[in-house]
């Protein structure tokens, strides 16, 4: 059974059709990169996968959950699917460890002591053990993003979604976040990531999907896709070095 199955998904905002029949599958342990021009529907697709956006037609299944808009189903789905946003979205009134422990404590009833162990574990995983008691405002962007990743990991997700998680970062902070993601990928995490980091897509993702005008325009093994684009649109996109 694939970890993510998307079948002929259509999504409109009012009259604007943003996804025009998108189908794809992600196998467990697979890392898939989504690339494409601004406005091609990458974020929207990602947000449909964890139900932040409702779809008009088609079918989405993730980690055995059928995605619909029933709040109860959505919560069960979201225990298994982590998402990391471009803007980190840490909770500013909570410390790093509280950010991480909150959902395990209240949605999965993990006891406090165990939640703390869990928080230390995921913080070590992203290399921020010493920030346990810091507030998000006192961290750099790169550190905040790594905490956001740790917060998702604490849910023990089966699938992780990343939406341009390094786009808001200064170039010198991008590397530390990409490194964490690469480690996750090597560790066997199923990942679907929207990125403008073409090198990262080429080297870390086994499959890359090029979206154009709300459709999957071209997809395939990352190295082949980048070295030998089949469509003029992808060729343009790659040669523009799109950042």
């Amino acid at each position: 059974m694939p970890a993510v199955l998307i079948d002929d998904v259509h999504k409109r905002f009012g009259n604007l059709e943003v996804l025009k029949g998108v189908s794809l599958t992600v196998e467990p342990g697979q890392v898939v990169a989504l690339i494409g021009r601004s406005g091609s529907g990458k974020s929207t697709l990602l947000r449909c996968i964890n139900g932040l956006e409702a779809i008009q037609s088609g079918r989405i299944e993730v980690a055995g959950h059928i995605v619909d808009q029933d709040p109860k189903h959505l919560r069960e789905l979201r225990k298994d699917v982590g998402i990391v946003f471009q803007s980190y979205n840490l909770f500013p009134h909570l410390t790093v460890s509280q950010n991480i422990m909150l959902s395990p404590r209240i949605t999965q009833n993990v006891p406090q002591a165990q939640a703390e162990t869990l928080a230390r574990e995921v913080l070590a995983q992203v290399g921020l053990s010493e920030k346990f008691d810091s507030y998000p405002d006192n961290l750099s962007g790169g550190q905040q993003q790594r905490v956001a990743i740790a917060r998702s990991l604490a849910m023990r997700p089966k699938v992780m979604l990343f939406d341009e998680v390094t786009s808001a970062l200064d170039p010198e902070l991008t590397g530390e976040v990409l490194l964490v993601m690469e480690k996750l990928a090597k560790g066997g995490m199923t990942m679907l990531l929207v990125t403008h980091e073409m090198n990262f897509a080429r080297n870390v993702a086994s499959t890359t999907i090029f979206m154009h005008q709300g459709k999957i325009w071209e997809s395939g093994p990352s190295r082949e896709l980048f070295s030998n684009p089949q469509t003029p649109e992808l060729r343009n996109f790659v040669s523009a070095g799109a950042h």
Partner: protein, 217 residues
């Protein structure tokens, strides 16, 4: 003709106590009702949203005085006699509820929507989102305008004198009617209002500065 002395001053002070009691009751009751309306105003259920919006609009469009007249004279014409204190407390609570509902709705809405998305993505229920993520941030945002409103409320309680409830302003009038020493009396009354409101105003301004200093960048 009496002169303005200690008994009169004590009478005024006691009345100031009633102003505080009335303010507190209206603020607490109005706050509870207003909190409910603020959340209803942002409900995902359209009917609740519209009901709350309607309530707020109606109350904000009517002078408190009319609410007071309706709950005192209006009800008594229908055979329900509310004691002046109850009529006053009820009217002011209704007035407070509509204004606090609006202040708090605004505060809740000024929490970035990404906080909703991030917490929803962590499988929190809507109630949990409010309790752990949104309200703690909204309450911080709402403190300066809420305390600012409280200052207005202290002063606006004087309106209830029209139904015969003796609070600070009314006590000043009564003493003046008996003593005709308006300057001393109303200076004292004004000073008492000032003593209550000034610290609150300062607190509101202080909170605002603290908020601005710690605004997330």
């Amino acid at each position: 003709m009496t002169t303005f002395g200690l008994p009169e001053a004590l009478f005024i002070l006691r009345a100031a106590g009633w102003t505080l009691v009335l303010t507190s009751v209206a603020f607490i009751l109005g706050g509870l009702i207003g909190g409910v309306f603020a959340i209803m105003r942002l409900s995902q259920v359209a009917a609740l949203r519209r009901f709350a919006a309607g309530y707020i609009l109606v109350i904000q469009s009517i002078p408190v005085l009319m609410v007071l007249f309706m709950s005192y004279y209006g009800l008594s014409a229908m055979g329900v006699e509310l004691p002046p204190f109850l009529a006053a407390a009820a009217s002011l609570s209704i007035y407070v509820s509509a204004y606090l509902a609006e202040i708090w709705r605004g505060s809740i809405q000024s929490v970035p929507f990404q906080q909703w998305e991030a917490s929803a993505s962590l499988a929190l229920t809507r109630g949990q989102q409010y309790r752990y993520i949104i309200l703690p941030q909204a309450i911080r945002i709402s403190l300066p305008p809420t305390v600012g409103f409280l200052v207005q409320l202290v002063k606006n309680t004087s309106i209830v004198s029209v139904v015969g409830f003796v609070e600070l302003s009314r006590a000043g009038q009564l003493v003046n009617n008996a003593t005709f020493q308006p300057f001393q009396i109303f200076t004292l009354v004004a000073l008492i209002y000032f003593a209550i409101c000034f610290p609150l105003s300062r607190l509101s301004r202080h909170l605002e500065q603290v908020m601005n200093a710690s605004r997330p960048h």
